[in-house]
Amino acid sequence: MSVPFILFFLCALLAVAGAVLLIMVREPIHSALSLILVMMTLAVLYLLLGAEFIAAVQIIVYAGAIMVLFVFVIMLLNAGTEERTDWSRIAKPMGLPLAFFLLLVTARWLSRSAIGATVANGVGAPSNEGVSTRALSMALFQQYLFPFEATSILILIALLGALILARKDE
């Protein structure tokens, strides 16, 4: 067991724990916290995968902005503990088994997938040094320039939409 392995399993454990907590806990804030935990661990995993920039963005945008927004909204709406209504007759008896089944199927499939296998066997093992941020930004601003601009427009639209929605109607 080398350092990356330990790190990986630690993070994976934390991530799964956080995800489970997110489901189990009934206080929205706690769910948010556990989700933040998951994101943190994911950021670490990204680092482990050599994607520093993505890791940073993950923390800044996800943990630092989106989740803050969530927390903010929870506080704003003063969301209390979730009530235990079960009016949906299929959600529990059907939904959960289905979801778990989906989990298993995808997990099995991915673990069997060619790429995973090859890497596991060390064949085509990726180089250990991470992706340079410069190269990523190059790709982003040259090869993917149009999608980038498109997303910027999307953001603008979302901004306006949020403004209009949350505006006090006077």
Binding site: I54, V57, V73, I74, L76, T85, A91, G95, L103, A162
Partner: protein, 102 residues
Amino acid sequence: MSIVPISYYLVLSAILFGLGTVAVVFKRNIITIFMGIELMLNAVNLAFVAFARAHGQLDGLVFVFFVIVVAAAEAAVGLAIVIMLTKSRQSLNVERDSLLKF
């Protein structure tokens, strides 16, 4: 020092995705459901990064970037909607406002 096989990451992402699904199906608080969706997105991101690493290409990372951006936009709008909804229905429980029908 040996590296962690990509398939581990993939399986982890699958698990997280499944848990996200469970959250979406199981939770009643609309905000928490939202978080479940975010969790799923994260899981997918992880898969993307893992694949990018496996292929030694950047595209996966770019995709992750876009996913994050879109998630941000979605969160902004979605939470605004949540606020309006809660203002009008005085409840965050999705089972309380069954508006989604004819």
